[in-house]
């Protein structure tokens, strides 16, 4: 009974947050100076065709009706036609979002693993050699512009050493022969069974994922180090030392279970920021992701595309947050 109640509360709060998101995006369309009807027919259209476009878009209806209409559209995933690509926004997003999701997921897995290790081991011997190296790495990751790093890596691995393949997610050879079943190239090429296709996809992913990983790692390592150091100064850590425990035992057995929730949150936040903001990396590596799609749409004043993209990214944020909260509740500190 208790479980049902908890699940219900989660669902209600999730639904309310999503509703809030839809309200904000709806307000965006109505407050923005861009008139969707003009966008559709052009500024030289006759009064009658302008009127027809207004009616087709439902702009002549009262606002509450428009909002309900919009809500129905958003719920069914139908965001209308993109003005710049001429295709349904839903299919554009279905194409670009998995590309970003794949890149961000690979990057966060590597970044979290490395960042946590760097932070934890740096905190074990503050002021030591490893700590200095870890701090240098995260300082560079924090302060170096991500596009510059990407360009440098392209210059080195693509132009000079010819180790990395060209831009995009797949070689032209495979682009039209590998059927897109999931939208995730790594999975699609694996499923296709074509020799070399999976390796090609992996090679394409390597550079942009590394750049993004570096960015995620920097923040994760710094926060992890600070958290572990703070906990090591707590009295329960001193007690563990007084029992004769070595520093690795104090950290892994005593400290980490107590900060697991915070570490999960840190990684989830880094993941969210990768999902939303890989625009620069996507541009440098010609990665056809949603960051680039949205940026292009914004410059073109392509309202349906902007709204669709915003809602999808917003919804994944909300979902990620909910999952994080659930995971944090499962940690030792959360239960204890």
């Amino acid at each position: 009974m208790h479980f049902v109640w908890v699940a219900l509360r989660w669902l209600i709060s999730l639904a309310l947050t999503l509703l809030g998101l839809v309200v904000v995006t709806f307000a965006m369309t109505r407050l923005s100076p861009v008139d969707p009807a003009t966008q559709m027919v052009g500024s030289h259209a006759s009064a009658s065709s302008y009127q027809a476009a207004r009616e087709a878009l439902g702009l002549d209806q009262p606002l509450p009706i428009q909002f309900l209409h919009y809500l129905r559209m958003a719920a069914s995933g139908d965001f209308g036609q993109s003005i710049s690509t001429g295709q349904p926004v839903a299919s554009d997003i279905a194409r670009t979002f998995p590309a970003t999701l794949e890149l961000a997921t690979v990057a966060i897995i590597m970044g979290a693993a490395l960042g946590l290790c760097l932070g934890i081991f740096a905190a074990m011997r503050p002021g030591g050699v490893f700590d200095a190296v870890a701090r240098l790495i995260s300082l560079v990751g924090y302060s170096v512009p991500i596009f510059w790093l990407g360009l440098l890596m392209l210059l080195l691995f693509y132009a000079r050493l010819h180790w990395a393949p060209g831009p995009g997610r797949l070689d032209v050879l495979f682009q039209y022969t590998v059927p897109a079943r999931t939208g995730f190239v790594l999975l699609d090429t694996w499923l296709s069974g074509k020799p070399g296709a999976f390796r090609d996809a992996l090679a394409h992913l390597a550079l942009p994922a590394t750049v993004l990983m570096f960015y995620a790692l920097a923040g994760i390592a710094r926060l992890t180090r600070a958290l572990v150091l703070t906990e090591l100064g707590q009295e329960y850590a001193l007690t563990a030392y007084a029992k004769g425990a070595a520093v690795h035992r104090v950290v892994f057995v005593h400290v980490l279970p107590n900060i697991a929730g915070q570490l999960i949150t840190i990684c989830a936040l880094a993941y969210a920021s990768l999902l939303e903001g890989a625009v620069l990396t996507e541009t440098v590596f010609a990665w056809p992701g949603i960051g680039r799609y949205l940026t292009t749409a914004m410059f073109a004043g392509d309202m349906p595309a902007i709204l669709g993209g915003t809602i999808v990214i917003g919804a994944s944020f909300v979902l990620l947050n909910t999952l994080t909260d659930l995971a944090v509740g499962r940690t030792a500190r959360g239960r204890a």
């Binding site: 002021g127 707590q234 009295e235 329960y236 001193l238 007690t239 563990a240 030392y241 007084a242 029992k243 004769g244 425990a245 070595a246 035992r249 005593h254 279970p257 107590n258 940690t331 030792a332 500190r333 239960r335 204890a336």
Partner: protein
């Protein structure tokens, strides 16, 4: 007299500061045998740092020098890290002020009591559990099974401190350092815990270093009293002689406590008493 349990000669602890080295403990010397020695002083007098130095648990910035710092005849001034770890929790143990902070909040109490065994013995999980349960009932729990399975937040302050004592004494160390071990508890519990500590100390034949700011409180349980002020020992006397103490600072500490006589009046502070 045979070699005492703990022998400290000229212990000095300093922290590097902008003005150079700032000594917070200055040439402190004392010995502890199988007895209860109270180290009393205001906060900042260096009594806690002295306790930590005996455990080798001073912050890395601290610089420690001592002519002698020996425990059971072993020279602690040049002990390797692994030997320190072998000593802590098995021969020397430490109890801190507040179990709310000194017990790990996300680990069951039983596991925390057993950890000391895990680190220093090769007992099986079952033997560890049996010993932990026996130890828990020895420190006064009627339901050791339940306490063993509890999280620290499920215990009250007094119960938490009992669990802490169980965790620290389960290996029968020869010296226990109790650093303000009762200061976070209310008066009746303080007496109970001190009585428990005193009883176990005599039973196990170990030494107890009772670090406290409350002279009157510990005087009833200690054999000897060392009074510390600003990093040095200013007075040392047997607990039975406290009533006839002559050192002004000892007297000041002795009087800085409410009683029937002081009711309704402003209590003298140490600063008042030290005025010429």
């Amino acid at each position: 007299m045979a070699e005492p349990l703990l022998r400290i000669e000229d212990l000095t602890i300093s922290f590097p500061s902008r003005q150079g080295q700032g000594a917070v403990v200055r040439s402190v010397s004392f010995e502890v045998g199988a007895e209860i020695v109270a180290v009393v002083g205001e906060s900042g007098s260096g009594k806690s740092l002295t306790g930590r130095a005996i455990m080798g648990l001073l912050p890395p910035r601290a610089e420690t020098t001592a002519k002698t710092l020996s425990f059971e005849g072993r020279d602690l001034t040049r002990l390797a890290a692994a030997h320190w770890r072998a000593l802590r929790g098995s021969a020397i143990a430490l109890i801190l002020q507040d179990p709310k902070y000194s017990l790990n909040p996300s680990m069951r109490v039983g596991r925390q009591v057993e950890e000391t065994l895990l680190l220093h013995t090769s007992l099986s999980a079952r033997e560890r559990r049996e010993k932990a349960l026996a130890m828990l009932s020895r420190v006064g729990f009627d339901d050791p099974q339940r306490v063993h399975a509890s999280y620290p937040r499920e215990l009250s302050g007094g119960m938490g401190q009992r669990a802490m004592i169980a965790a620290m004494l389960i290996n029968k160390p020869s010296l226990l350092i109790a650093d303000e071990a009762t200061s976070a508890l209310d008066h009746d519990l303080q007496v109970q815990i001190l009585e428990l500590l005193g009883g176990l100390t005599r039973e196990l034949g170990m030494g107890l270093l009772l670090i406290s700011h409350d002279l009157q409180q510990v005087a009833r349980f200690a054999d000897r009293v060392l009074v510390m002020r600003q990093g040095t020992i200013v007075d040392r006397l047997a607990a039975s002689e406290l009533a006839d103490a002559t050192h002004p600072y000892t007297l000041a500490l002795w009087n800085a406590r409410p009683s029937g006589v002081t009711y309704g009046t402003r209590l003298p502070t140490v600063a008042d008493e030290m005025e010429p």
